[in-house]
Amino acid sequence: MLPGSVAGVLVWENRWAAPFASAARRSGGQLIATGRIPIQAIAASIEAELAEQEEGN
């Protein structure tokens, strides 16, 4: 942050996930991995795929 600038910080709970997590637990499941896929990675892989398709044509 630059001196003099202001920032807001937001921390949130993904409330939607709680019922699903409960359902998963009741079904015998356990969370073993979670994470975020960067949007840039998605865009890049789409482009790569399209380029691949183009080469194929």
Partner: protein, 242 residues
Amino acid sequence: MTFGRPAEPRRRRLIEIMPIVGWKSLLAQADPPATRLVLDTRVQSDLDLTTLDMHSTLLRLLRSRDIEVGLADVRSGVVDAMRDHGLLEQLPETRIFWTSHMPSQPSLREVAQAPESSRSHPIGGIRPVSSHRTLGESLLGSATDGQESCTAAEVGGQMTEGMDVAVDDLGPVDYLVVEFPVGAANFTGEMAEELARLSAAGTIRILDLLVLHKNDDGSVEAIEIDDLEGVDAIRVFETQVA
């Protein structure tokens, strides 16, 4: 079982559906449901292969939903490219409206001033046209007093940048992996129901759903669930794993 580098099938799947997700999402929001769609190709003098592939995918999607498609403000290079790519078989010539410099055809301005059925719509890009009018009538219909309409130009934007739109429309994309240890699995369909509820409520949009199976030799099989965007797809999931 660990989540390492995504398996190739998963990557391909995500890639295949990304533009479609954007289009399906727009179609799902259309109220009343879209019966016809006009693509403005004004900004294009030609179509490259990538764009043609995207058009082809979109045309298939629309045809599968019985949505009629027309092209507005078309240049000859666009039609030539589409013809060479076999797309015109899906799009009759009577649904192609040439650029405004060809006197007998509607200009984009006329298209934009189409009658009440095309009034400003909450979603950009999909312009519902009431079913008792032909596309041509809609395009050529008398202008009403300066109504703002969701113009075909916006549709053009969706088309030419369909991929970008889909990506731009995405919220943060997260993944999770839930393991069901041998003997612990007790599938009741409850998880699928919860996912269906969240998906139907618009809380989440399911982009991909895989069932992984790790064999005794350590190899991992990935089973794709087809077409995951929607409740029906979740039911497929439920049926397969329950």
